[in-house]
């Protein structure tokens, strides 16, 4: 299906992404908004097409041929994902729509059953809104308390706060593996050790890590992990919740209805086994199969290669960005401690003006609060611009980006 690549061959990889041939405002597209969503290789696009052309059917119930093929493909995708993140068992992989839904599933199903008045939920100040708001709702409902681990000047979690805030009242620690703003890679093992000492669980928001580096759920020893298919070359509308089966077994269902029940009587119902207990209704079948193929693609390139390439390009971009007068970069200085996400401000140019100027050059970057308003408040910065890379980006694209930044600087500060 995909050719095995010994070392990275970016021109060859770019061939797999039809969208990269597009021109925007007359210029070749430079797509630096990968933290928002990634582009899709032809292998994934063709998988969706083939599914709808050749074996579209509802899964788990039909006795006919198409239903059998669709069911097998859907369950194979689950196995691929389980292997990809080194889950203990396939049933620890629950398909959801996206990372946000995965986190909500835990906050509702586990949270409503386990959080009591006076309990503590520990988050970090660098969380995405998706890993804050579900916990705020839960805490408000139950009279529990939220606490936020803060960061130092370089954007690393403060060690003293990790050990101060996680205590015997803590029931769950919800933490991003890699920040979508600062790029910081957090040391999850340290967090799981600290939390488990007090019997607290750990939910990892892996939306920005699983697409870009090797993530081993068993090694991290986290209790839950959430990520989105669309940020890792897969289709939109498919995401994953990983959970240790001992937790999943004890949790009530989240959504109820068809597909997730064993038996229904007028007097009540019983649930299917894992993971189906958490998958109510007809799922995103094509999406799951497409995500499986995205995982094949990433494994063929190898996650080490993906991460190395992104470290290289991030290092190059960080060095070149220091050439620009008045440019401020947020987050860790060392590339080994971050993913390929660079948030910055250029003088007093508003982030939206900068994004518009980049757009005129065919460069897609992000600007605004990046769904992390508590972090922006903590840093006292109203908005930032963000460039984020993936396996198909090149140093030549970074050069074009640097020239465009220089142009913007001159335009605003002649």
């Amino acid at each position: 299906m995909v050719e095995k690549l010994a070392t990275i061959n970016v021109p060859r990889i770019r061939e797999d992404f039809p969208i990269l041939k597009r021109r925007v405002n007359g210029k070749p597209l430079i797509y630096f908004d990968n933290a928002a969503t990634s582009q899709k290789p032809i292998q994934v696009i063709e998988t969706l097409d083939k599914y709808y052309r050749e074996y579209n059917a509802n899964i788990h119930r039909g006795i006919h041929k198409l239903a059998e093929e669709a069911t097998i493909a859907h369950e194979e995708a689950r196995e691929k994902i389980a292997k990809f993140i080194n889950a203990n068992r396939t049933e620890e992989i629950v398909f959801v729509r996206n990372a946000t839904e995965a986190i909500n599933l835990v906050a509702y199903a586990w949270g409503r059953a386990n959080i009591k008045q006076g309990d503590k939920i520990v988050l970090t100040i660098m969380e995405h809104h998706s890993n804050i708001v579900p916990w705020q709702q839960l805490a408000n409902e139950k009279g529990a308390k939220l606490e936020f681990i803060k960061i130092d000047e370089e954007g690393h979690l403060r060690q003293d706060e990790i050990h101060e805030l996680i205590d015997e009242r803590t029931k769950i620690v919800c933490i991003t593996h890699a920040s979508n703003v600062l790029g910081t890679i957090n040391s999850i093992k340290e967090i799981t050790r600290a939390a488990h000492r007090f019997g607290a669980l750990v939910l990892v928001d892996a939306a920005q890590s699983v697409p870009h580096m090797r993530v081993d759920a068993r090694d991290l020893d986290c209790d839950f992990m959430a990520f989105s298919g669309h940020k890792m070359m897969g289709p939109t509308g498919i995401g994953v919740l990983y959970g240790k089966s001992k937790h999943f077994e004890n949790m009530p269902p989240f959504l109820c209805g068809g597909e997730m029940i064993k038996e229904v009587h007028t007097t009540g119902a019983s649930w299917k086994d894992l993971p189906y207990k958490f998958e109510a209704g007809t799922p995103n079948i094509a999406g799951a199969i497409g995500l499986g193929v995205a995982v094949d693609y990433l494994r063929n390139v190898s996650m080490e290669t993906v991460h190395d390439h992104e470290k290289q390009i991030t290092g190059y971009a960080l060095t070149r960005m220091t050439e620009i007068d008045g440019l401020v970069v947020y987050g860790p200085k060392e590339v080994t401690k971050r993913v390929g996400v660079i948030s910055f401000n250029l003088g007093d140019i508003h982030a939206h003006d900068l994004a518009s100027i980049m757009d005129e050059e065919g460069i897609a970057i992000r600007s605004g609060h990046h769904c992390a308003q508590p972090l922006m408040e903590f840093l006292n910065v109203p908005a930032m611009s963000r460039a984020s890379f993936y396996i198909y980006n090149t140093n030549e694209e970074v050069d074009v980006f640097i020239n465009a930044l220089e142009k913007a600087r001159k335009l605003f500060n002649p």
């Binding site: 005129e360 908005a383 335009l411």
Partner: protein, 135 residues
């Protein structure tokens, strides 16, 4: 060097905003923001005999929002409240001489929205759907 929406005139109004600041003895004051960009505009109007006698604005945000608000203050001075109520998107775009495109149009229209909020507020009239939908 040319940048389509960042023409010299826009950047000039952004760097040197006209009618910026507070208006002593203003009759009405209105403020609004654009949640997407975090742009904020406040308008202060002095109204006499159904006409805008004087105006000042304050704000923070992107060049498009600040420049358009400043340009707007110049044209509404001396206009009747009815004329201001009749102004729309096309007037602002004409004033700026650019088309900021669908993603930035709200930045350009924030100033007009706030002026209208002030006028409707002064007249004690309910805000119309048209005004609400500007930004």
């Amino acid at each position: 060097m040319s940048s389509d929406i960042y023409k010299d005139i826009i950047l000039d109004y952004y760097r040197n905003p006209r009618n910026f600041g507070d208006l002593a003895n203003a009759d009405v004051r209105a403020k609004d923001s654009n949640p997407l960009c975090g742009d904020i505009i406040e308008m202060q109007l002095k109204i006499n005999d159904g006409k805008i006698d004087d105006v000042r604005f304050k704000g923070k945000g992107c060049a498009i929002s600040q420049a358009s608000a400043s340009m707007l203050t110049e044209v509404i001075k001396g206009k009747s409240l009815d004329d201001v109520k009749a102004m729309g998107k096309s007037n602002v775009l004409e004033l700026m001489g650019i088309d900021p495109g669908p993603t930035r149009i709200k930045c350009a229209l924030l100033g007009l929205k706030v002026v209208k909020l002030a006028v409707y507020g002064y007249l004690g009239q309910a805000i119309t759907e048209e005004v609400k939908q500007l930004v």
